[in-house]
Amino acid sequence: MKRTLPLIITFLAGVFVVVTFFIPREPFGSLEQRMLVWASILGGFTLLLGIDSLIKHHGRKLARREKDWFYSLVTLLGLFGTLAAGIVTWAKYGTPLELASLNEVGGFFWVYKWVMVPLQGTMFALLAFFIASAAYRAFRARTFDATLLLIAAILVMIGRLSMGVIPATLVLAVLLVAAGIHRLLIRKPVFGAVLAVAGVGLGALVLAFPQDAIRLAPQVQEWLMSVPQTAARRGILIGVTLGTIAMSIRIILGIERTYISST
């Protein structure tokens, strides 16, 4: 019964949602709306579950003085500190979301603006450094495929530049020539010649028609994004969607049961 009941509920709910989706007429329309409101309310409770789980996990770590317990302390202080700021602002203004609290030290929006936003921004800004380092180490034109990927990536980056299109394109031309010479030296004459000629041609064209190069760079980027990239993306999208439909049917019919238990 412990497993059967959830399976029955899943089956009924799944079939019901599908039926109401395709039959918007009454009473299905309003029933669907009611279920959507329920889903939203349930979503609210998942937030509570999340908070409960967070407090339990970090509280336990803190109580047992486990490794990195200090970070758990910071997490809990952040959670309760923000809650306290919200309650204080609520008591003062009747709502925790009063914009006037932006200028009051310890106010809810003050905490948001001067603690949360900079912290989140800083975390994300670190990506610039890691991406630069990772790109330098991982993007090497070692093989044919890697070279193609590299050329496409650099062309997209050049297309998104607001300045420095000419030097960046010349750098790409130099890379193509170098890659071509490398292939020629390791006795891959066809690919090597193609790359070298492409590099010399690109460099010459950019130097001869710099304004056209600046104008064309975003168009090349747009073409790469909207044709080859979209073609691949669409294939993946169709595959993912078919997979999602198949998985949904399996869940509704009770074939897929891993969501009930991890075992």
């Binding site: 709306q33 959507l36 409101v37 889903a39 939203s40 309310i41 979503g43 609210g44 998942t46 937030l47 009747g94 709502t95 979301l97 009063e98 914009l99 603006k113 949360m116 936003v117 900079p118 989140q120 921004g121 975390m123 994300f124 610039a128 450094f129 991406i131 630069a132 380092s133 790109a135 330098y136 993007f139 090497r140 034109a141 070692r142 590299l150 650099i154 980056m157 050049i158 998104r160 530049l161 607001s162 300045m163 420095g164 960046a168 790409l172 130099v174 890379l175 170098a178 890659a179 010479i181 030296l185 390791i186 104008r215 975003p218 747009e222 994004m225 909207s226 990239q229 979209t230 993306r233």
Partner: protein
């Protein structure tokens, strides 16, 4: 050879330092940059630019501070554009920690718009006051003339004249209210109050008029004049109210924009709003009843929303497309981070997205279209130098690798 080996494995701390320089240096200088506007951004601009004044657009804040540099300039630019086009804005979002950023964009946009249009607005209010005064003078003349005629003979014709004057006045006040209500709530209230006051006054006047019929004496004219003087006083008060209204901002919360806040359940909310927004958002972010917000009176579901713009750093735009676009035919524009933009090109090509702003570049292109240099335009040089640095590093790494490979093969 040692140097080439070093080039293939530059210390990451050097790369970090170079990146700091690449980002900081362009920020120290103002670099004028011409922008080529891409088709996805141009389409997004056109979709908003061609909307009729008064149309409602919905802005969904589906990002938080992590994507502030890319998404905030977009929402700022589109808010600015929407206010210029006299569009009404509904703000909501699926990431609670991002919504205040959207509110900030709206508040700042409104304040800037109000500042830019203050003089213009004052002029319009002054003109309305003058019109009203002129009308009042004419009305007083009519009153006096009616009184003079009535002193000799009262007929139903006079009653009709008075009724017609009253209704004419109320109609004009109503028309003024409609014209200005979107600018300030206070002004609308003032006009409404004036209208009600006059209506009350007119009823009293009629009562006195009828009293005059019974009396049929010379004191009747005096009564009329006193009534007219009282009315004149009332008009003065009305004009003072207009003056107060003129001091208020032009774009106001509840009239031109609202923030419905956050509700959990992304898909449930998106689908449910197709039937009735109030089922999920019956109160706004400050707990004010949505029905009491003036601009929400005629907004119930996607039928009442001209365009929806989702600013996202995740998969929110795809959810909007799948549930609001595919099912309810809602026109959707995406404003996303550079990383997310490639995911949305299939939707752009199929017409499920009316336009797309991708990353800082997309935001800067939109800024150039609305002819306003904002956060994105200022950030683009730094992003460009960072990109160039990454390209240089990749090329240096690859070339060093080639050299190393050749030397290994030759056994040197």
């Amino acid at each position: 050879m040692k140097f080439i080996k070093w080039l293939t494995n530059i210390d990451r701390r050097i790369i970090f330092l170079l990146m700091i320089g690449a980002v900081l240096v362009p920020m120290l200088f103002t670099i004028p940059i011409p922008f080529e506007v891409g088709e996805p951004v141009q389409n997004a601009f056109n979709a908003i630019d061609t909307l009729k004044p008064g149309s409602v657009i919905m802005l969904s804040v589906d990002y938080d501070a992590t994507s502030y540099p890319e998404c905030q300039p977009m929402i700022v630019a589109i808010t600015d554009h929407a206010f210029r086009k006299d569009l009404r804005i509904i703000l909501l979002g699926h990431i609670p920690t991002g919504l205040p950023l959207g509110q900030e964009a709206l508040e700042r946009g409104a304040a800037e718009y109000n500042q830019n249009h203050k003089a213009e607005y004052r002029q319009a209010v002054k003109h309305a006051g003058e019109e009203l005064k002129r009308h009042t003078a004419g009305y007083q003349e009519s009153l006096k003339s009616a009184a003079a005629e009535f002193d000799q003979e009262y007929t139903p014709r006079h009653q009709e004249t008075l009724d017609s004057l009253v209704s004419d006045y109320l109609e004009k006040v109503d028309s003024a209210a409609v014209k200005f209500q979107k600018h300030t709530f206070e002004y609308w209230e003032a006009v409404k109050y004036a209208g009600e006051g006059f209506n009350r006054h007119a009823a009293e006047y009629q009562k006195r008029l009828e009293g005059g019929v019974r009396e049929k004496n010379s004191g009747y004219v005096r009564i009329l004049e006193r009534a007219a003087a009282e009315y004149d006083k009332h008009v003065t008060e009305y004009q003072e109210d207009l003056g107060h209204a003129a001091d208020q901002y032009l774009k106001r919360y509840g009239i031109d924009f609202v923030n419905l806040g956050y509700r959990p359940g992304v898909v449930a909310i998106i689908v449910g709003m197709g039937r009735e927004i109030r089922d999920f958002y019956h109160k706004d972010y400050q707990n004010i009843n949505v029905d009491s917000l003036h601009m929400m009176a005629d907004v119930h579901n996607y039928d009442d929303i001209a365009t929806l713009v989702s600013f996202a750093h995740g998969t929110a735009v795809e959810s909007w497309v799948a549930y609001a676009g595919a099912r309810f035919g809602q026109q959707i524009i995406g404003g996303v981070t550079g990383v997310v933009a490639p995911d949305l090109y299939p939707y752009l090509q199929s017409g499920q997205l009316a336009g797309l702003l991708g990353g800082l570049k997309g935001a800067s292109e939109y800024e150039s279209l609305i002819k306003k240099k904002g956060l994105a335009s200022r950030g683009m040089p730094a992003q460009s130098t960072a990109h160039i640095l990454v390209i240089l590093l990749i090329v240096i790494g690859s070339m060093a690798e080639f050299a190393l490979d050749i030397s290994k093969r030759r056994g040197t």
